[in-house]
């Protein structure tokens, strides 16, 4: 599976964003993972070549961060269940167990059909929205088992599944490309602000509370 010239060009495009090329390594690994479904030896070698590093240095970085898969291909969709305290105890544990049972995989594994990777994940910075699940790293907030089963049903049926704060999911590899910093054209398109983010604003409006008026100062 050769890495295309286009991906090489995108790697160089990432390198151009920084005063020093090596800064592009973390995004580049996302990009290569997006291209190849995991970080391959070939991917490590390409990074080493472009950034003038040893493959040991590249591997050292790739194995440090949890989002890179170095041992096997990831599934079509990545399902992450937050099991840190606020999400896990409030429902995430049960959701994970239900998913694990339904998909017949345990933490970090890919379903036999290659459709799903299931992973216990750490805090997603959305504790207000617990329990949080991610599908292809998009937010699925305040989830429960039923809602999650519905999401899986739809994904299995190939139907559109829209994140609670974010776009319709597009597959894990597409998400990895977005994370790498390659424009997916969706930046302003999705509904990323929900009622929980507006909880305080709505309360303030209900109660007629505002910040002090600058004119008074």
């Amino acid at each position: 599976m050769a890495i295309s010239e286009q991906v090489r060009a995108e790697c160089r495009q990432l390198m151009d964003r920084y005063p020093q090329d090596r800064s592009a390594l973390v995004p580049m690994l996302h990009l290569l993972q997006s291209e190849q479904g995991m970080v391959t030896a070939e991917g490590l070698e390409l990074c080493a070549e472009l950034l003038d590093l040893s493959t040991a240095e590249v591997r050292a970085v790739a194995t440090f961060y949890t989002m890179y898969r170095l041992r096997s291909q990831g599934g079509e969709h990545h399902i992450g269940v937050c099991v840190n305290t606020a999400c896990g105890l409030l429902g995430g544990d049960a959701i994970f167990d239900a998913l694990s049972k339904r998909l017949s995989v345990s933490n970090g594994e890919v379903t036999a059909d290659g459709r799903f990777t299931l992973e216990r994940i750490e805090c997603q910075a959305a504790c207000t929205h617990s329990p949080v699940v991610t599908v292809d790293w998009e937010y699925f907030d305040q989830m429960d088992i039923d809602k999650m089963m519905d999401v899986i049903d739809k994904l299995e049926a190939g139907e559109e599944v829209v994140a609670t704060r974010g776009p319709a999911v597009r597959g894990w590899r597409a998400a990895e490309k977005t994370i790498a910093g390659i424009d997916d054209g969706l930046g302003y398109k999705s509904d990323a602000i929900d009622s929980l983010m507006l909880a305080g604003l709505n309360q303030a409006k209900e109660r007629g509370e505002t910040a002090p008026d600058p004119k008074d100062f």
């Binding site: 995004p27 504790c127 929205h129 424009d183 990323a192 109660r207 509370e209 505002t210």
Partner: protein, 440 residues
Amino acid sequence: MALTPVITAHWDEPDCFTVDGYKKVGGYRAIKKALKMDPDDVINIIKDSGLRGRGGAGFPTGMKWSFVPQNDGHPHYLTVNGDESEPGACKDIPIMMANPQALIEGIIITCWAIRAEHAFVYIRGEVPEPIRRMHAAVADAEAHGFLGENILGSGMNLKLTVTSGAGAYICGEETALLDSLEGRRGQPRLKPPFPAVAGLYSAPTVINNVETITSVPYIIENGVSWYRSMGTDKSPGFKVWAVSGHVNRPGIYEAPLGITMGELLDYAGGIRDGHELKFWLPGGSSVPLLLQDHLDTPMTYEDIAAAGSMLGTGTPMLFDDTTSVVKAITRWLEFYKHESCGKCTPCREGTAWITGSLERFQEGVGRSEDIEGLVELSNHILGRSFCALGDAAATPYEPALKAFRSEFEAARHQPVDEAFPPAATMIIPPETANLAGAAT
């Protein structure tokens, strides 16, 4: 104390995140003011405002900026820390999604003040939505001439690069973030030299939290006395509070520092019906837990410290009486074990050891000698690890033991899931019997 929406004031506008939407509500006015000022005067305003870093440590922002050597012939950098990963913290990502233009305006003003021509927003990797939105917001700002060459005719040039991590809590530590941004393993650096002197690419670098920088344009626009009319003398200003856990109305609340947890809890609709507050953490998992008694403590750096905890990120998590404290802190320790970078011995070995011991309590086979032993082990990490992650990992156990010793005693013999049935702790308990079975 009243809510004071500032950063969040217009999040209900459909285009609040665009340049146009932001300008409609007064955005990009502060920049015009700031770029006409001497950079040092900008620093002084921020110093005078008393703005403190919102990433957890609460370091005075203006002072941090003033450490950057001026006219030293080196490039300077601003790095915005959007690596929000601390359990409980969930305010920066909403800000980047809902008000990225205020963040960008804050970045421009900060770069003007510290004489930087290249800034970075480092966003944790696991969140494509804020990543794509920040990229779009930067493109939008570039298109409007707020970024790039000779901004608004001021002669200022600024390149803003949005970059992402790949799953490492430690990269929220500022020097680890710099290493990650340099394409390395995100392990903290030896200090000194401090980043203000030798940071990114060994050049003077300011690292500030997303919320901190987003506060800047409002301070510049509305003035120090306006800003200081909120909060306390030592903890001035407004703050984006993210309230989570067993509350009826979790979410984002913006109010001055000094508001009490009790007041915030009232806005958040109280603890879920039929339950009592058991314990709460003012700002992330790295701070000691507090109890019902502390609901009236003003949420300021100084008052929360006096109460024996830390304000941290100002993102309180509240747990009700169905929650096993053993299980809660075990999860946090599992987190620190998972996120320990491995560089120093106390954190690398200590988090694994404490976690393993706590997991035995969770399973009902806790060891008697560990009840006090884990305090000692925690103290072997506290103050001896390389960076604050180790200190954070050493924090949860002792306050939990102090407040809920009997739960640890019981967990020598009884699995916590028996004493605290998991379904009771869930917000929406599983209804299907077979799935409930799977959950235990």
